[in-house]
């Protein structure tokens, strides 16, 4: 794996050195149970996991296997019932809602199946969105947005609205948005679910590119084996536990 390029290197004020191979995520004895009336449902039963910088991981499993719950906790959107989640050395499972918001802003980038772009808002403004919440001045925001749009190959469409872009282009905008604050980690939830085969391949190649050339750590959920093949390591969930965790040869 090559070192991260300038465009996406984490800012120097990060505590941890962003060396490839360093530990980014450590999950220890993670449990998540939901109460539905009188019944308790165990969505995650004791997950233990370590993810290093620069890895490209596919998370697979049937519906109800716990992979979505796992991704929500990884993305600081949900709190585990017990266990620890260390992100860059800090146990974030006990952080406050505001601290989580800060992490989602600066350390984690999301890519969703449904793209989740703001309607009637241009591509550039969509990409700028995360920067609106960390106080960057507008000129700086615009410059940076155009920079990452260039990285995903959409520099000439920065002023287009989502309804003027194809599915694949919208997903690229979403990927650019996820990269704009130089996150430690990209979490992608079925990013090709709404795309045709050809476009899916393009998007997966973009992910691969970002991972290999820029050294971005990617954790991607999918139920399609073809898509999972793009990753270097596959983690399989079943009934709330990890049943296999294999790196490709």
């Amino acid at each position: 794996m090559r070192a991260q390029s300038e465009l996406l290197a984490p800012s120097p004020d990060r505590g941890l050195d962003a060396e490839p191979g360093q530990e980014v995520i450590r999950i220890r004895d993670l449990f998540k149970t939901y109460k539905m009336g009188d019944i308790e449902v165990a969505a995650l039963r004791g997950i233990n996991l370590m993810i290093r910088r620069g890895e490209f991981i596919a998370v697979t499993g049937a519906s109800g296997s716990g992979k979505s719950t796992f991704m929500n906790i990884l993305g600081c959107l949900d709190r585990p019932t017990s266990g620890a989640y260390f992100l860059e050395g800090q146990d974030v499972s006990a952080f406050s809602a505001d601290e989580w918001a800060h992490i989602r802003n600066s350390k984690i980038g999301f890519v969703f199946q449904g793209f989740n772009l703001l309607y009637r808002t241009s591509a550039a403004e969509n990409v700028e969105l995360p920067m609106m919440y960390n106080g960057l001045p507008s000129k700086e925001r615009r410059r940076r947005a155009l920079e990452v749009l260039g990285l995903v190959g959409l520099a000439e469409r920065s002023h287009h609205l989502p309804n003027q872009l194809s599915g694949g282009q919208q997903q690229r905008v979403a990927i650019a948005r996820s990269l704009v604050n130089r996150p430690s980690l990209i979490l992608a939830d079925e990013p090709t679910g709404n795309l045709d085969t050809k476009t899916s391949d393009e998007i997966m190649q973009l992910f691969q590119n970002l991972n290999e050339k820029e050294g971005i750590t990617i954790v991607l959920v999918t139920h399609e084996p073809d898509i999972a093949e793009y990753a270097h390591r596959q983690i399989v969930f079943r009934d709330g536990s990890i049943i296999s965790d294999n790196a490709k040869a």
């Binding site: 918001a101 800060h102 989602r104 703001l118 106080g135």
Partner: protein
Amino acid sequence: MLIMAFRIALRALARNKLRSFLTMLGIIIGVGAVIAMVAIGEGAKKRVQEQIASLGTNLLVILPGTVTLGGARSGSGGRQSLIAADAKAIMNEIPVVAGASPVVRQAQQVIAGDQNWGTSIQGVAPEFQQIREWQVREGRFINQADVESTAKVALIGATVAYNLFGDNDPMGSVIRIKKIPFRIIGILGAKGQTGNGTDQDDIVMVPYTAMMKLVMGVTYIQQIIVAAVSADTTQEANAQIALLLRQRHRIRAGNDDDFNIRNLSDIAEAASNSATVMALLLGSIASVSLIVGGIGIMNIMLVSVTERTREIGIRMAVGARGRDIMLQFIVEAVVMAASGGVIGILVGIGSSNLIKYLAELPTLIRPEIIAISFLVSGTVGVFFGFYPARKASQLDPIDALRYE
């Protein structure tokens, strides 16, 4: 951060201009109504004050009967206790009194040739002219000789002159009051309307002696109007007149007066206060529509929050905190309310000018009212936007992102 929230809010409101405008309408109407109503009230108050000021602040009016508790107007009723000699005594025996005139009046038909006109006939003394500062446009006022000889002479006001004689000169003509002929010796200068709409020029003045003996057949008078030497001496004149009348009417110590003395500036203040109360009352009623407007904003904001659940989820996923979301929606509500307030102010000013022009009611807009209206509309925005904004900030991002 605030500027950005402001821009996001404008963007969101512009996205559905019609809906935003309809929501603002409640505030626009509320603010517009308040401003117009208060302007009418203030205009009335100012006109009353002007009218009273033109009457002079050194005037006293003496009426028969006792004062009712609370100083409410008692009207010229009660016992008939005042006589013309009282007026003379007041004028002659009290140095701080400049002049006093008895007043007797009655509504009567006045006939001139084949024209007739219903008006108010007032019997007065020569001093009346100076006390009321009433100009004589043509001819002369009533004099002492007229009073002493019970002369059947009259002065007519501008309205009466016009209605009985049109463009012809009334001087020297004869008018009949209760079949008694009176010769016109003068025409009174125009005075216009009083604060409560009475036409002061719809009047005929005759010597009080003629009025009492020939027209009304009474020996008691209805009023004495008195002018003090100056505004400062009015209180002293008031006290001295009371003493004199008690003495003349042989009222024992401890008994109530059989007359009551009204100080015109007290009346002026009472009228001014009641005009203020009217303005406040009208304003309060109009404020109700401001509350309705606020509820409208809250309603639409709740709909807006629900519609934009997914958008809120996206914002939270990329790092918006609860308070960022809350600020965004409160600013939206405030921008709507404040914009409605500004438009409402313009509408209010426009309507009050229109009322002034069409209905010929006086209106007065004070800058404080405009400032208060703007602040109040902004506050309405904060208050009624708070609940929807809080709801938005408390959304769970996972659920919000899943929302269809």
